[in-house]
């Protein structure tokens, strides 16, 4: 198996997934939750499965109360409502009116986030992703400082970061598409997922890089591409296995873990699968590409 020889195919496959995602991000953007935009979120429950009449009633009451509705979704016995910021009084008034029509309605969750907090969360999220990437690049550069010539530890760091950006773009793209077609929201837990993916992506990449480092020391770098390819082949089994354990646990969480963390788990799953792919088929081949461009 020669992964390095076919590296352009693998880069192409990545682009095939990333480019539609990027287009989706530019066309539609991400469906940002009230964590970022400010607003209110309510979860109502009923004794029986929710039908159209409950949804309509909710919509009408909110309209007459002059509260802007962003979305109303239902799932079995629950209704999830997103609106412009509501205060406590508006909320209790709404519930009062609704419970006259539907006696079994219960409010499970009410959250209001002011726009100030929303902006702060957005800014913190961007800062967190940036700082985490820089710290990781620094750590890898330091940890791989003794890597033999002709390559350099800095290149390892940069390639790990490119693989990481790849994974983040895959997840962002998929969620832009999911957001547009299925109303899936991006909230502060999603940011957590992205940062976890960043950690995991590098985690995976390092397993391969560590082997390249070891093999370079052992055999020298007369044939860089061959050394890298061997390293990938030697570690591919453990790369897949380590990811598989995480994927299995996440699938269990996805199937049985409840509604509130569902999309968080989906984001993690996509990211971790992408992270495994990029560590095998992107990060190390990129090292070779860089080497080839340099030695020309």
């Amino acid at each position: 198996m020669n992964i390095i020889e076919r590296k352009n195919w693998y880069f192409g496959l990545s682009l095939l997934i990333i480019i539609p995602g990027i287009i989706a991000i530019f066309l539609w953007g991400l469906n940002l939750s009230i964590d970022f935009t400010g607003g209110s979120r309510l979860t109502l429950s009923f004794n029986n499965a929710v039908g159209n009449n409950q949804v309509q009633a909710v919509d009408e009451i909110l309209k007459t109360e002059k509260i802007k509705v962003a979305s109303i979704e239902r799932s079995n016995k629950l209704i999830f409502i997103r609106t412009s910021p509501m205060d406590q009084n508006q909320n209790s008034k709404f519930i009062n009116i609704l419970s006259k029509e539907f006696k079994d309605v219960k409010e499970h969750e009410f959250e209001t986030i002011g726009p100030v907090i929303g902006q702060e969360t957005t800014w913190n999220a961007l800062k967190a992703v940036g700082i985490a990437s820089i710290l990781i690049i620094l750590y890898i550069t330091w940890s791989f400082r003794q890597v033999p010539k002709p390559t350099s530890s800095f290149r390892f760091g940069v390639c790990a970061i490119i693989a990481l950006i790849h994974d983040v773009l895959v997840v962002l793209g998929v969620f832009a598409i999911l957001g547009h077609f299925f109303g899936v929201e991006v909230d502060s837990l999603f940011v957590t997922a992205i940062l976890t993916i960043i950690g995991f992506s590098v985690h995976d990449t390092i397993v391969v890089f560590d082997r390249i480092r070891e093999n370079l020391r052992k055999t020298g770098s007369s044939n860089f591409a061959k050394t890298v390819n061997e390293s990938i082949i030697q570690t591919i089994g453990r790369s897949l296995n380590t990811s598989l354990t995480v994927v299995l646990v996440l699938v269990a969480l996805l199937l049985f873990g409840g509604e509130s963390i569902r999309w968080f788990v989906v984001a993690l799953l996509i990211g971790i699968i992408s992270g495994t792919y990029s560590s095998i088929f992107n990060a190390s081949p990129l090292l070779v590409l860089w080497h080839e461009l340099r030695s020309k």
Binding site: K106, F110, I117, A128, Y139, H203, N241
Partner: protein, 430 residues
């Protein structure tokens, strides 16, 4: 530092017994475990979290910190009066915004509003003498004041600050609850003056810009005692009484964020997460055993020890000031860490297989597997810890919980996957 496997083995056995004891459902004999329990976050236990911005417009800049502390003290006092268990009241300054964050487990959002939101500004109003200066805008009048006292209603100098204490009592005639006020010496003098000059007139008692009662003054009251009997229920009387006792907030609060969760939903999600976690462990045990045989069984034992250890840390932390609060995302982080905990084992076992293929003996392969896999385990775990650290620094509530549980998971898993597994293997293959 090379300890003999035997000492390590005994330490591991002791550790296992300890973590099992800590995690046993606490019934009966082991009394010390009784006080240990997980500290559940609001999204599981149910409750309300509120973030306020303190309106500092009228506070000079050197007094702002003090005013913020004042706000916190008043809120804490009010919460204590209501007997909320394990409340959190924090202050934060961010970009010139002075904030108070309040978390009240087991309190629904309406009760929370009664506890904190009620500003309980008490004032007394009288009908003004004819020709006295009028207050500029009608909106400055409390609701109902003009109707009762006429267009010249005037605020007296008596206010909630003149109260010494308040209590709930019952009207001797009707048996209805009422709030009894006792003024300070100064307040009593003011009250005496007011009642003297308003003899046979109506006096309005105003709470938070609303007239709640307007009794006619029959005689001057010199003792400094007064009663508000404005149609209270037992609960509303005690809420008013305690809010008056706790004092008024030094500055107004503007709500920035409020979040109320009902306990049933949280418990349901918790059970689902725990089930998924348990299932995850079983799947991994099967996976490891199928893939690595005996080695896999040892790794599974280490994984179970890992799980119990992390749970023990969560439990033990609840009796320290640094209690780790379990939120749903935190539990997701923990379950994720279970999946990652065996990563180190996989790296080591693959390495052992490889050394075996290179023709080395079992013993040699075992030792080499551990030592040669170490660099990749170290580097990959440090990168995970870096992201945990960043998440903890920049995250809020639930994100912090996730980062902390994941970080604890990473650290403990390095110990369980390396030290525990190696010791067990050394003892088995002696």
């Amino acid at each position: 530092m090379k300890k003999s496997p035997r000492t390590l083995l005994w330490s591991i056995i002791l550790l296992t017994i300890a973590v099992i004891a800590i995690n046993l459902p606490s019934k009966g004999q082991l009394s010390f475990t009784k006080s240990l329990s997980f500290k559940q976050g609001l999204d599981i236990a149910g409750g309300t979290s509120l973030t306020f911005k303190a309106d500092m417009k009228e506070v000079s800049s050197d007094q702002k910190e003090k005013a913020l502390d004042g706000v916190r003290a008043v809120i804490e006092r009010r919460i204590n009066f209501f007997g909320v268990s394990e409340p959190i009241v924090q202050t934060a300054v961010s970009n010139d915004d002075y904030r108070v964050i309040v978390e009240l487990p087991g309190v629904n959002i309406n009760q929370a509003k009664n506890i904190i939101g009620t500003t309980a500004q008490l004032s007394f109003w009288e009908a003004g003498a004819t020709g006295s200066a009028k207050i500029a805008s009608p909106s400055a009048y409390p609701l109902g004041a003009i109707e009762i006292l006429g267009p010249d209603a005037k605020k007296t100098n008596l206010s909630g600050r003149d109260l010494q204490e308040t209590s709930v009592g019952f009207d001797a005639n009707t048996g209805k609850p009422q709030v009894q006020l006792k003024f300070t010496g100064d307040g009593a003098r003011k009250f005496a003056d007011i009642t003297k000059r308003n003899l046979d007139k109506v006096l309005a008692i105003v709470l938070d810009d609303q007239v709640i009662e307007a009794p006619r003054v029959n005689q001057a009251i010199l003792t400094g005692d007064a009663v508000i009997s404005g149609g209270f229920t037992n609960e509303s009387a005690s809420i008013l009484s305690t809010s008056l006792n706790a004092g008024a907030l030094p500055v107004p609060l503007i709500p920035l964020q409020q979040h109320g969760v009902d306990a049933t939903l949280g418990q349901e999600s918790l059970l689902k997460s725990l089930f998924a976690g348990g299932l995850g462990i079983i799947i991994i045990v099967i996976f490891m055993t199928v893939l690595y045989g005996k080695l896999g069984i040892v790794a599974s034992a280490a994984l179970i020890l890992y799980t119990l250890s992390v749970l023990s840390i969560f439990k033990l932390s609840s009796i320290t000031p640094y209690a780790i609060t379990l939120t749903l995302s935190g539990i997701a982080g923990f379950i994720l860490s279970i999946g990652m905990a065996v990563d180190a084992n996989i790296l080591i076992f693959e390495r052992i297989k490889e050394e075996r293929r290179a023709g080395r003996s079992w013993h040699e392969s075992l030792e080499l597997g551990f030592s040669r896999a170490w660099t990749s385990i170290r580097d990959s775990n440090i990168s995970s810890l870096i992201t945990c650290f960043v998440l903890y620094q920049f995250g809020t509530g639930s994100v912090k919980g996730f980062a902390l549980t994941l970080a604890i998971g990473v650290l403990i898993s390095m110990f369980s996957a390396i030290v525990v597994t190696r010791t067990l293997l050394r003892v088995i293959y002696k």
